[in-house]
C-alpha cells in the first residue's frame, strides 16, 4: 500500500517537474533569442559609467541640434536645476541620483531631455535608465513637470559642467 503511494507521488513529482522544466526552457530560449538581437554580449559597465551617446532614449525629444552655448539659457537652466533637481542631484558628488557633471559626454542631448521630461517612461523602456534606477537603489527620478523649453535650458546648463 505504502509503495503504491510512493510511486504515485513519484509520478506526480516527475509530472510537475517536467512541466516546470519545459516552461523554463521555453522562456530561456525566448529570452536568449531576444538578447542575441538586442544586447551586446560583454558584461556591461555600471550604467553611470557607460557611454551611450548614440542612444536618444524614449520620449518626446527626437532630435536636438546643439549650437554654441547660450549664456541666457544656462542661467535659466541653473535656476531651474536648483529648484527642481538639486534635492537629489549634487554637482560635486553622487547623491540620491548621479551628478550631472560630464553627463553631456556620456549621454545624448535627446536622452537627457527625455529623462527630464518622461522619467517614468524612460525607466520602463530605456535600458540605460532602467539600469541607473537599479544602480541608484531604486530611487525613481521625480517628474518635475518641466516644459520642453525648460528641459532644454537645463541641458544647456549641463553643457557647462564638463568633467
Amino acid at each position: 500500500m505504502k509503495k503504491v503511494i510512493y510511486s504515485a507521488l513519484a509520478i506526480a513529482i516527475i509530472a510537475i517537474s517536467s512541466c516546470g522544466n519545459n516552461a523554463e526552457e521555453n522562456t530561456k530560449a525566448a529570452s536568449k533569442k531576444t538578447e542575441v538581437q538586442k544586447e551586446p554580449e560583454a558584461p556591461l559597465a555600471p550604467a553611470s559609467e557607460r557611454i551611450t551617446l548614440s542612444n536618444k532614449g524614449v520620449g518626446p525629444i527626437k532630435n536636438i541640434e546643439l549650437a554654441a552655448i547660450d549664456p541666457e539659457m544656462v542661467k535659466r537652466g541653473m535656476e531651474l536645476f536648483k529648484t527642481n533637481c538639486s534635492a537629489c542631484h549634487k554637482i560635486d558628488k553622487r547623491f540620491i541620483g548621479p551628478s550631472p557633471k560630464g553627463v553631456t559626454q556620456r549621454r545624448s542631448p535627446e536622452w537627457i531631455m527625455n529623462m527630464i521630461l518622461e522619467p517614468q517612461m524612460m525607466v520602463e523602456q530605456d535600458r540605460c535608465a532602467k539600469d541607473l534606477l537599479v544602480e541608484f537603489n531604486g530611487a525613481a527620478m521625480a517628474n518635475q513637470n518641466m516644459t520642453e523649453e525648460q528641459a532644454r535650458d537645463i541641458l544647456e546648463y549641463f553643457r557647462t559642467l564638463e568633467e
Binding site: K82, T83, A139, A142
Partner: protein, 656 residues
C-alpha cells in the same frame, strides 16, 4: 384638534413604515431580478480605469465636511474639510489653516454642513465653486472646484441656525444665508418669553465678487421673528427675487413641535432683492455694530488669514415698500423650490400630503392689483387663491424637497412615506412614485435647481438606513439611492452609503470640472513666507524659544533630516515645502508626540506643523504618505536637549 391630527399622521406614518418593511424583501428580489432582466448593474458599473459621468457634492452634515462622489457609481472620491478639523490633511491643525475656523466666538473646529450649491452663470452651473453653509455657528464657505479646497469662510452675524442657506442667484451675484432660529437683534439679555415681536430673523445677502468669488455681506434684511427654513432664488423670469419658506409664524419659543404647528398656513416670503440692492446702493439701510469673522485662504501663500469685521448694513422691511411679500403656504412648508423656468415656486408643507405651487406671474399680478389679505409686521400678505397655481395631490406624506429634470417634470421627496414622487409641472398629475430606503430628506438631480438640469440620475439622500447594509453597531452611515430618471418611470439603480448626514447635494456633468482640476501647485509661484524653493535654502532659525525649521521634501528624503539644538520649552515650527512637481505626489509629515496632527503637503505647497517637545531625547519624524519604493526610508531625527542646554542649532542631510 391639532394634537388629534398629529396622532393621525403618526398612525399613517407607522403604517407606511410597516409597508416599507414588508416591501423590503420584495424589493430585494425585484432588484436582483431586475438587474438580470434589464441590465441595471451595467448602468452603474464603471469598469476599472473608466470614469464616472458626473460629480456629486454631498453634504457631510455634522462631520462639517463636503463629500465628492461619482455618478452613477456612487464611489467616494474625496472628503473636503470645510468647517471641521481634519487630521487626514492637517486642515484646521496646520498653522496656515487654523485661521479658517476662526469665528467671533473664537476657534470653532466643527459645524453642521448643510446645503451645497454650485455657482451659476446665466442660470446654468458654471463649475467654479461650491457654496456650503455651516448651520450651527452661522457661516458660509466657498470651496474651489479647481483645488477642491475650502478657500473662504464668512461668518453671518445676527443669525442662528443658518439653515435657509447657501443658495446662489443665477449669476452668483449673491449667496444667501437665512436664519432658521430668530433671535434678539442685536443680541441682549432679555426674557425668552418676550420672543414675540422682539426676536428677529436675519436674511443675509452675501455679495460674490465675480473673478475670485470673494464674499462680503452686502446687506441683512431684518425680518419678523419666524423660522426661515429653506430658500431658493428666482430664475429666468423671476430672477431678481428670492423665496424663503417659513414656519413658526406663531412665534413660539417653546415646545415648537406643537406650538409652531398651530397656524394652518405659514408663509413663503418673496423678496425682491434687486429692489433692495438698489435701495442700498442709493445709501439706504442702517449700519449696526456686529462682530463676525471673514477668513480667506490665499492660494499663492498657501495661507489663510482671519479678519474680524465689526459692522453690518441692515435693512428694515418697512423701509423698502413693494419689495417684500408673504405668500400663504399650508402646513409649515419646508422645501421652497423654483422650477427651471422660474414660473413655479413649490412649497412643501411638511405636515401635509399635498404640495402647494405658487405662480410667479400670478404673484406679480396680485401685487399690482394689491390683492392683499392683511399684513404681518407691515409686510403685505398676498391672497392665497390669487397666487396659487395648483396643488399636487400626491397621496404621499411629509413632502420635503423638489428638484427638476428640465423636461417638464418635478420630483418631490416624501419623508414620512419614504418615497420619491414624480409629477408634471402645469398639470400637477402624479406620473410615478418609487420607494426610498428609508425616510428620504433631500434629493438631487445634477443641475436640478438651475435653468438647465443635467438630468439623467436622481440621488435620494435618506435619513435612516436600518437593514440596507451590514450592521455596524448602533450607528449606520446614512444611505443614498440612485435612480435612473431618463425614462417615463424611475428606476432604482444603486444603494450607497454617505458620511455624516447628507442634507442637500449639488451635482454636475464631469466635463464642467475635469479640465479645471488643479494637478500641482507651481513651486515658482509659491509665495509662502516660510517656503524654500531649493534645498540649499533649508535652515533652522531660533527666535527666542521659537524655532523655525525651513524643510523641503522630495522622493524620498527630508532636507534637513538631522537636527540638533532643540530644547525643552521650544515651540518648533516645521515649515515643509514639497518640491515635487508631479500630479498626485504629496508627502506627509508626522512628528512623534505632536499634539496637532500630521500634515499632508501637496506638490509645490508649503504647510506648517507646530511641535512642542516635552521630553529630552532623540525623536524621529517621517513621511506618512507612501511616496516611492524608498518611502520607508523617508525619515529623520531631532535631538531634544534640556531647557538649560547650550547646544547650538545644527542641521544636515547626508554628509552635508
Amino acid at each position: 384638534m391639532k394634537i388629534k391630527q398629529i396622532k393621525l399622521y403618526a398612525a399613517i406614518a407607522t403604517s407606511f413604515l410597516m409597508v416599507n418593511c414588508g416591501n423590503q424583501g420584495d424589493a430585494g428580489t425585484q432588484k436582483s431580478g431586475g438587474a438580470l432582466n434589464s441590465g441595471i448593474a451595467e448602468k452603474v458599473y464603471i469598469a476599472p480605469g473608466e470614469r464616472d459621468e458626473q460629480y456629486a457634492f454631498i453634504s457631510g452634515g455634522y462631520s462639517g465636511n463636503l463629500l465628492v462622489y461619482g455618478l452613477p457609481s456612487g464611489r467616494l472620491f474625496k472628503e473636503i474639510p470645510v468647517f471641521s478639523q481634519f487630521a487626514t490633511s492637517g486642515y484646521g491643525y496646520s498653522e496656515e489653516t487654523k485661521p479658517m475656523l476662526n469665528t467671533s466666538f473664537g476657534f470653532v473646529p466643527w459645524d453642521d454642513l448643510h446645503h451645497p450649491d454650485i455657482s451659476q452663470t446665466k442660470g446654468e452651473l458654471d463649475g467654479r465653486w461650491v457654496f456650503v453653509n455651516g448651520n450651527n455657528t452661522p457661516r458660509i464657505a466657498r470651496v474651489s472646484l479647481s483645488t477642491f479646497e475650502t478657500e473662504e469662510i464668512i461668518e453671518v452675524p445676527n443669525s442662528a441656525g443658518n439653515h435657509s442657506s447657501s443658495f446662489v442667484t443665477e449669476n452668483s451675484e449673491y449667496v444667501i444665508a437665512g436664519t432658521r432660529f430668530s433671535v434678539p437683534v442685536p443680541q441682549r439679555d432679555m426674557p425668552i418669553k418676550e420672543y414675540k415681536s422682539n426676536f428677529k430673523g436675519a436674511l443675509t445677502f452675501i455679495e460674490v465678487e465675480p473673478e475670485h468669488g470673494h464674499m462680503d455681506i452686502k446687506f441683512q434684511l431684518i425680518m419678523p421673528g419666524f423660522n426661515y427654513d429653506l430658500s431658493h432664488p428666482g430664475r429666468d423670469k423671476s430672477h431678481g427675487w428670492f423665496f424663503f419658506s417659513t414656519y413658526n409664524t406663531e412665534e413660539a419659543s417653546s415646545l415648537l413641535e406643537v406650538n409652531a404647528s398651530q397656524n394652518d398656513k405659514d408663509f413663503i416670503a418673496a423678496i425682491n432683492w434687486k429692489k433692495i440692492e438698489e435701495y442700498v446702493n442709493n445709501g439706504g439701510g442702517t449700519k449696526m455694530p456686529a462682530k463676525y469673522a471673514h477668513n480667506v485662504y490665499d492660494e499663492s501663500t498657501h495661507t489663510g488669514t482671519s479678519t474680524m469685521k465689526d459692522e453690518v448694513l441692515t435693512v428694515n422691511p418697512s423701509d423698502v415698500p413693494g419689495a417684500i411679500f408673504l405668500l400663504p403656504t399650508p402646513k409649515s412648508p419646508h422645501g421652497c423650490d423654483v422650477d427651471p423656468s422660474g414660473q413655479y415656486i413649490i412649497g412643501s408643507g411638511k405636515l401635509s400630503a399635498d404640495l402647494t405651487i405658487h405662480s410667479f406671474d400670478k404673484m406679480i399680478a396680485a401685487i399690482d392689483a394689491e390683492k392683499f389679505d392683511g399684513e404681518a409686521y407691515g409686510i403685505p400678505v398676498l391672497k392665497f387663491e390669487e397666487v396659487l397655481a395648483g396643488t399636487v395631490k400626491s397621496g404621499g406624506l411629509g413632502p420635503l424637497h423638489t428638484e427638476f429634470d428640465g423636461k417638464g417634470n418635478a420630483y418631490t421627496t416624501f419623508f414620512i412615506s419614504s418615497e420619491v414622487v414624480k409629477w408634471k409641472l402645469g398639470t400637477w398629475e402624479v406620473v410615478d412614485r418609487k420607494p426610498t430606503y428609508y425616510s428620504v430628506g433631500h434629493l438631487m438631480i445634477p443641475g436640478g435647481n438651475s435653468r438647465k438640469p443635467h438630468g439623467k440620475y436622481l440621488v435620494a439622500l435618506n435619513k435612516i438606513t436600518k437593514d440596507r447594509y451590514l450592521p455596524t453597531g448602533p450607528e449606520m452611515e446614512h444611505s443614498a439611492q440612485i435612480y435612473d430618471i431618463s425614462g417615463e418611470k424611475m428606476e432604482l439603480l444603486l444603494d450607497f452609503p454617505t458620511h455624516g448626514e447628507p442634507h442637500y447635494a449639488a451635482g454636475c456633468d464631469a466635463d464642467l470640472i475635469v479640465n479645471n482640476s488643479k494637478k500641482i501647485y507651481r513651486l515658482d509661484e509659491n509665495k509662502h513666507p516660510y517656503a524654500i524653493t531649493s534645498p540649499d535654502q533649508a535652515k533652522v532659525v531660533r527666535e527666542g524659544n521659537e524655532v523655525h525649521i525651513y524643510m523641503s521634501t522630495i522622493r524620498s528624503h527630508f532636507t534637513p533630516d538631522n537636527i540638533e539644538g532643540i530644547k525643552i520649552g521650544d515651540k518648533v515650527y516645521f515649515h515643509i515645502t514639497n518640491h515635487e512637481q508631479d500630479f498626485d505626489v504629496p508627502h506627509g509629515f508626522a512628528m512623534i508626540g505632536a499634539k496637532t496632527s500630521e500634515i499632508l503637503v501637496m506638490p509645490g505647497q508649503t504647510k506648517t506643523s507646530l511641535w512642542e517637545p516635552s521630553r529630552v531625547g532623540v525623536w524621529p519624524f517621517y513621511c506618512t504618505d507612501f511616496c516611492s519604493a524608498l518611502h520607508q526610508e523617508m525619515q529623520g531625527y531631532i535631538r531634544v536637549s534640556p531647557a538649560n542646554s547650550d547646544l547650538e542649532l545644527s542641521w544636515s542631510l547626508g554628509e552635508d
